[in-house]
Symmetry: C2
Subunit: 223 residues, 2 copies
């Protein structure tokens, strides 16, 4: 029994995505709505991280989640259990969301009772990095099993993110993953990025992450 709405997202008609993204960001700012764009590879832990994030912030902010899941409703169901507003965006196999598609999602979600909207973007380290969604902040998750070379191989994604969560730290003993090397590789691409090791499954690091997010939301809404 699904109680969340499913929205079929159409291709955007706008030629200039950057302009549309700036316009959307300005409108959200004027309404006091913070939009987080969360990106990662498939299986890096976006949904589990979101569950932990929503649980920690839902008593302070009215949160709405947009799941741009490709062909299942597993993630939307998992988020729905936290009790916040959820909408599922059916993207018809598209590899990213742009600002026009994000706007359709926000309209479907309904912003009248929302302080913070979170977009769980399509699992992909390439295409979503190329399309500004209009988000207030971009965050990504790199999971330990993916390897510490990912900033070298997908530099654009690491360059455009304000925060990089390094997830699944519980399995660090079983992988050849150098956290210091990752930090240094991210720093070279993007010196201002906040890098936070987390384990979404156990909750490790989620307090630090949600404190960062809380400050960014508050600054955005009060500016």
């Amino acid at each position: 029994m699904n109680e969340f709405r499913i929205l079929e997202i159409k291709q955007s008609v706008f030629e200039n995505n950057d302009r549309e993204a700036e316009k959307l960001r300005g409108e959200l700012k004027a309404r006091g709505v913070f939009l987080l764009n969360l990106m990662s590879s498939p299986g890096a832990g976006k949904t589990t991280t979101l569950r932990g994030t929503v649980k920690r912030l839902k008593n302070e902010f009215a949160i709405g989640v947009m799941e741009a899941d490709i062909d299942s409703d597993v993630d939307a169901k998992a988020i729905q259990e936290t009790g916040v507003k959820v909408i599922q965006l059916h993207t018809g196999g598209m590899c990213h969301l742009d600002a026009g598609m994000t706007r359709q999602g926000l309209e479907g979600l309904g912003l009248e009772d929302i302080d913070v909207a979170i977009l769980e973007n399509v699992g992909n380290l390439v295409c979503p990095a190329e399309f500004d969604t209009g988000a207030s902040k971009n965050a990504m998750i790199l999971s330990v099993p993916e390897g510490d070379d990912k900033p070298l191989k997908y530099p654009l994604m690491f360059t455009i993110c304000d925060a990089v969560l390094v997830n699944k730290t519980d399995v660090l003993p079983y992988f050849d993953f150098d956290m210091n090397a990752v930090r240094e590789r991210i720093r070279k691409l993007n010196p201002d990025a906040k890098v936070i090791p987390i384990c979404a499954r156990t909750g490790e690091g989620l307090d630090e992450w949600t404190q960062w997010l809380r400050e960014e939301i508050t600054a955005w809404r009060n500016r």
Copy 2:
């Protein structure tokens, strides 16, 4: 010191990729060249798997590898150490290769002394599934840490692959991953797909995988 060639791949000019792919496949068939298209998420283990594959087959076939790596030469270096011919394809941040781009890569590699060409596609479960490269066979790697729900979320990729390698079985004890559920989910999408659990790091399962590949190569070249 890099001794492999780096080729800048241009956008394809062909409108009908499926037709170009069929044409390329026919030309390769006529020359007796088998082309494997290997796909996965970022960090699933394509390069390590390829190293193990090449080591097991290089005394039987003349192998050439095309690394469609996005912004580093880490993978090409790792393959080069096996002693086979390697070329690096610079895709300028593109999210997939189509048949026209694969043709450029094959021309850069040079097919005169090659029996088996292997394309390590861009790390992405979405876009590469939508573009036929002209390969004789498609294979993908799903790694245990990505989760057993991936066939539900990226069904097209699982549908178009002839073989699915389930990698990193050494960390099965640390993840909630149901191998039987994965097999069943793949079977529903693609009953003919060969599913092989492997651990590229330790070599587990690579003999079974290379035996499958050996038979496919031989059948292709003798048909």
